[in-house]
């Protein structure tokens, strides 16, 4: 085989292999992550985490309150990067990014609940998303997203307060 052709194949392999790894391993990792997210969401379902403030509580005394945060960074894979690259050309929903951000936000919320421990509720919950890293393989596409969930964890007393 001519050497030049060989180099072309190697060049091509450097692009195709990450895409295949991204597709196979990436979707495997994503499925596992979603399974874990669902399990923990079920486990912590009883603890309210709401975007409402103190107005959400009536007839209770608050014994203790402090800030709790949870954050995570989820990386995208090469397959999603290429798919997104094509989406930037034709427009439309960037489906590859949607699950990435969905995972990041739900994971961050779960971590915030871990940080809150046995708090009775988390109030004023806010969710924010940031892009981390600028370039994937020189594409200018997003590399990973950070999601931050934060709120006020409150512990209520037993005696009603008017």
């Amino acid at each position: 085989m001519p050497l030049e052709t060989l180099f072309q194949f190697i060049n091509l392999a450097f692009i195709i292999v990450p895409i295949i790894i991204g597709l196979v391993v990436g979707s495997l990792v994503e499925r596992r992550h979603y399974r874990s997210i669902r399990r923990r969401e079920t486990d912590t379902m009883a603890q309210p985490a709401v975007p409402l403030g103190l107005s959400a509580l009536s007839g209770v005394t608050i014994e203790r309150a402090h800030l709790v945060t949870g954050s995570t960074v989820v990386a995208m894979d090469a397959f999603k990067a290429v798919l997104a690259g094509l989406r930037f050309l034709f427009g439309g929903r960037v489906g590859g990014y949607e699950s990435l951000i969905d995972r990041a936000r739900r994971e961050a919320t779960l971590r915030m609940k871990v940080a809150a421990g046995d708090a009775d509720a988390i109030l004023n919950v806010r969710l924010e998303t940031f892009a981390i890293g600028g370039r994937f393989g020189g594409s200018g596409a997003l590399t990973s997203v950070e999601a931050v969930a934060y709120g006020t964890a409150v512990w209520v007393g037993s005696g009603p307060k008017r």
Partner: protein, 292 residues
């Protein structure tokens, strides 16, 4: 953690009874792609991109072909400054060496026989690379001759054919065409995908095949030109077939790298040349049937 009975809207007495109920997030609301649809989307979008690139490439390619014959020679000179550096191909032999001067003279003799001689003449660069059986035509009238080709050639006639073949490329403006095509390919890909998209090489590799196919036609045309030029200069073109037979043999042994990948198969080419030589008269020494 006790269930929070007090959670409700305190300011509105009517809503005081509204209770918070635990609920799991809906999986499907914020994600639109499943594993199957993500693959379908990939196939669909990449075919769209490939189609776009092909349309642009073919369209601009036709434009280049239409324009290239009317380009003034100054374009050649401008390209020379941009793209040519013989040293990129290997160590260049000192131009004052007798063997370089000798092949330069051969090249000048052939150039003088060209129907439309180039005013600036042609410069021969001897590349000291015994492993490469190749010759290259570059903008600005530069002919690169690899020592490997001289070693492999069955005689002076055969090397003359190669030189005439390269002159044929200049006469047909293939050196500009080739550069134009490759430039277009890169241009089309960057227009559609952005300059450094990771997808670009994926699309470029199959598209390169189009360039190869294109260059085979150019080689056949340059061969025909070379045979005619050899007749004009020496009254014989037997070296052409001898060179091709040698190349075909080398190809069989897998020793020819660069030359053949962009050229038609040498055996078929030798047959074709035989036909050309026969048709153009002179003494055919075998009775092989002429190619159409």
């Amino acid at each position: 953690m006790a269930p929070l009975s007090g959670l409700g809207l305190a300011r509105n007495a009517d809503l005081d009874a509204m209770k918070w109920t635990p609920r799991l997030p809906d999986d499907a609301v914020n994600t639109s792609l499943t594993r199957l649809t993500i693959l379908r989307e990939m196939v669909w979008l990449s075919s769209l991109a490939a189609g776009l690139i092909i349309i642009i490439y073919v369209g601009l390619g036709l434009l280049v072909d239409a324009v290239v014959d009317y380009l003034p020679d100054t374009v050649d000179g401008a390209l020379e400054r941009v793209v040519v550096d013989a040293a990129d191909f290997g160590p260049v032999a000192e131009p004052t060496l007798p063997r370089v001067r000798r092949w330069q003279r051969e090249l000048d003799d052939l150039a003088a026989a060209m129907p439309a001689p180039a005013p600036d003449g042609f410069t021969l660069h001897l590349i000291e690379d015994a492993d490469t059986v190749n010759a290259v035509a570059l903008p600005g009238g530069h002919v690169l001759l690899f020592t490997g080709l001289i070693d492999a050639a069955p005689g002076v006639d055969a090397v003359r054919f190669v030189l005439a073949h390269e002159l044929g490329h200049f006469a047909n403006r293939d050196h500009l065409r080739g550069l134009g095509r490759r430039l277009l390919l890169a241009l089309a890909a960057s227009l559609v995908l952005g300059s450094d998209n990771p997808v670009s090489p994926l699309v470029l590799a199959p598209a390169e095949l189009l360039t190869l196919r294109h260059s085979r036609d150019q080689e056949t045309a340059a061969d025909a030109y070379a045979v005619r030029l050899l007749y004009r200069a020496y009254g014989s073109a037997e070296g052409a077939e001898a060179m091709m037979r040698t190349l075909a043999e080398l190809d069989h042994r897998g020793t020819v790298d660069g030359f053949l990948s962009t050229h038609p198969l040498s055996a078929a080419r030798a047959e074709h040349l035989r036909g050309l030589i026969d048709r153009l008269g002179a003494e055919p020494d075998t009775s092989e049937p002429a190619a159409p």
